[in-house]
Symmetry: C2
Subunit: 195 residues, 2 copies
Amino acid sequence: MSLVNRKEQIEQTATRLFKTQGFAATSMRTLAQSLGMEAASIYAHIRSKEEILQKVCFRLANDFFTGFQNAVSQPGTSTDQLQAAIVEHVRVITTNLEAATVFQTEWRHLSEPYLGQIIKLQTEYEAKFRDLLKTGKAKGEFKFNDVHLTTRVLLASLNGIAQWYNPDGILTPTEIATNFNSIFLHGIVKGKISN
Amino acid sequence: MSLVNRKEQIEQTATRLFKTQGFAATSMRTLAQSLGMEAASIYAHIRSKEEILQKVCFRLANDFFTGFQNAVSQPGTSTDQLQAAIVEHVRVITTNLEAATVFQTEWRHLSEPYLGQIIKLQTEYEAKFRDLLKTGKAKGEFKFNDVHLTTRVLLASLNGIAQWYNPDGILTPTEIATNFNSIFLHGIVKGKISN
DNA sequence: CCTACCGATCGGTAGG
DNA sequence: CCTACCGATCGGTAGG
């Protein structure tokens, strides 16, 4: 039990270092020093440096999928489901801030077969958002020119939250999601009627 | 003159490797092999590995500033200027695809004083966009709740282009900019009147 | 969780 | 642009 906690502590500290220094530039000795132990001792708890990165990436990928599933499993229009999916995505990032950043920026350092698996998961997640937008357009709810571009614009700006979100800041995750929905659904031009 | 070309070739090859493997994970020996020379020979052309990263980052930062200046130096509404700024940003990224990616993802590996300088430039660039949005709102052209969030959403999605843009793909840089303008100005909800 | 240590590799320099 | 090489550091293992 104490070993389990120590393992979690190692992963948490490593995640923080991976975020600030990057995976490749973070040495096991630096990690050990942050934990108050010797580098060799870490291997009593983990198999390799990469194993930590693997856990972080797959845990986050799984969280994003679960969040999306929650969003689209409830009845409603495509607009409702998109809003819910945005809320879920914001929630996953803001409640796993450091891990989300590491997942986004360090996944390329995974080795096979994990690299291929995580790319596949990212592709699938993007496809889920794309299908949601496509369905909404077919139903006459949405308008846009290119569904691939629109999906990527949305996801890039959502993932960007990890780079600037401050848990001690003014904006709550809910408020952030509300702002996103407003921008993407209605734009920022002051219209004459609907706004 | 041949030395100048060789230097540019080194920087170009390094940029490509930094993009795919990351700065820290790219060794001078790997770079040398890609160039068909010995690692030690590279130092006849450059001072250090980091010097290459410095050049890439500051060149791109400068390009983004110049682009923005071009956009706002012509008369027009805030909407016109925002559209022009988006066109310029898309242009800088798509014409410097690999360098833009390296700038975005590897700048944290710069050492002082360069690190502080590049952070300052990023902060200033974001402030320019923010002021443009702020002015547009004050003039009654724009609507949004939080100018900081809105600016970051816009810039994150613009920078995300570097991750998916394909020079051989269907969408031209101009078309990409047009799509961005449509999404951010009018949103993706099918309105009754203005759309 | 430690000491002691492994082979490999790192960025970079000397000298030509 | 090369050979030869430097000290430092890397991820990880053996054995306790």
